[in-house]
Symmetry: C2
Subunit: 297 residues, 2 copies
């Protein structure tokens, strides 16, 4: 069945990504935890901590099924309340402040033949925005998108800009990326096989892109002051995830597996009162680039 | 006018508390920032950082007025949309893990003669629950409450247990305290003057109680491991404030002054993956006491 094929392919993606990240780190390895969901299904949580490159990272696979809560069911307008959902979800917090935080998610959701879709995205959160890296990142995402539909990149890039926005700070979480949801033949003009392959291509874009960004920046010397800024930016990351992130909110409200949901939170963050950036500093330049609508390609 | 009398008294409470905390700290002093609200009114934010006892703390006074958003107005069933609100709000994050985090808030809200009330509370979040301290804390709150109404303490203690609860962790934020809202003659049988005096008494309970808790614990020797646990408990504090706290949510949604709203966030917090506590340890004993419904008096 289609959904089982998707889940199996996503497990392979998880394997590929974990081995790619272990290679990039060169020191730490993933620890795996298998879990089962009371309502049906389960997952493989894989966590890497205290590495040479990665301070804390998680690469989670899950495939769950069961009955949707009544309220969610009503909003979908479906007969049955049975659902199936599978996905791979990643957040990496690096040691070096010049290596960016990265997030990726690919997922498939199915209720019945009519009610099913792919969702996902990748976005980058540099502590210090390095324009050549941001351009490289977006360029590679565009390449992946363009192989499947020329309309995908501009559309999904705009959605990411809107989604990864910290409203109360009036700043984006990072330099964005792509974000998409409810991709179906009706909304895209492509069959499910094509959308499935797109989803896998997004998953396979992760390692080469992030390995390159690690390679470019991991040897960069950093000071205490750079670390302080990293802690502050991580605080913003925690704010976004706890206040706005739809996946986190859904997980918390539906009694999901807490440690897997909050795996995205930074290993360490700081909230000094009213931090100020020095005019002309790298920190100020970064803040100026945390805006929606920057064309990076 | 009554509301001006309340605001003036609250300013004095802020002054008393700041000077009491400076004395307890013995090293750091508050920095003040005056701010004005575009819609009307303003406040005095006072922050203390890097003290001998207090790592980061804020004692804010505000008195704002203006027009309520339409949605809020509807829920209140009032003719006019003019409102006035004044309050003092405090969160203190201490250096020593054996000194507890404390939060206090007293506030008065008024729309018209019929629509006005007092709200507030004090609650304690020890990183390590020390039962004698928790009992002392609750005993003193009960004393303050009992002077005004014997029914207050049990009622407000139960509300605090329910309110300061981290649902997704199934644990309370700390050992609770008292929390109350919409105190009016109709709901209490006391006139506004009596409720006002209760509010001031709550405000004046803060310094002697917290100074005592500092005095009892600030000389306690602590290790790196105790600090790690403190960072972890501070992470839970941040989770509560960003995910559940009504005041924080309201502030973020209504474009309040961000640095004042998020002043409550810890100076530094950690989120290690799936931390485990050792059986029989002080950390495990603390977790066992982070439950609703414990009778501390």
């Amino acid at each position: 069945m289609f959904k089982e094929k998707v889940a199996a392919a996503y497990q392979l993606i998880q394997d590929e990504i974990c081995s790619g990240l272990e290679q990039a780190d060169g020191h730490a390895t993933f620890e795996e935890e298998l879990w089962h969901r009371e309502g049906g299904g389960g997952g493989r949580t894989r966590v890497i901590q205290s590495g040479a490159v990665i301070e804390k990272g998680g690469v989670n696979f899950s495939a769950v099924h069961g009955q949707l809560p009544e309220a969610v069911k009503r909003s979908f307008n479906v007969e049955s309340d049975a659902f199936f959902a599978t996905g791979v979800s990643i957040v990496i917090h690096p040691v070096n402040p010049f290596v960016p935080i990265i997030h990726m998610n690919i997922r498939y959701f199915e209720m019945d033949e009519q009610t099913r879709w792919f969702g996902g995205g990748i976005d980058l959160t540099p502590h210090y925005v390095i324009p050549t890296d941001a351009r490289f990142f977006h360029h590679r995402l565009k390449q992946t998108c363009d192989e499947f539909d020329k309309a995908f990149y501009p559309k999904f890039k705009a959605i990411a800009d809107d989604y990864f926005f910290i409203k109360h700070r009036q700043e984006t979480r990072g330099v964005g990326g792509i974000f998409y949801d409810r991709l179906r033949p009706e909304s895209t003009g492509h069959d499910f096989e094509h959308l499935f392959n797109f989803s896998l291509a997004v998953g396979r874009t992760f390692v080469p892109v992030y390995a390159e960004l690690i390679d470019r920046n991991q040897e960069q010397h950093y000071t205490e002051q750079h670390k302080e800024w990293q802690y502050l930016r991580r605080g913003r990351y925690a704010e976004f995830n706890l206040v706005y992130d739809a996946g986190t909110k859904f997980g918390l409200e539906t009694n999901g597996r807490i440690e897997s949901i909050l795996m995205s939170l930074p290993p360490m963050a700081k909230w000094p009162y009213d931090p100020q950036v020095v005019a002309g500093s790298e920190e100020e330049k970064t803040l100026a680039l945390l805006k929606k609508g920057i064309d990076w390609v």
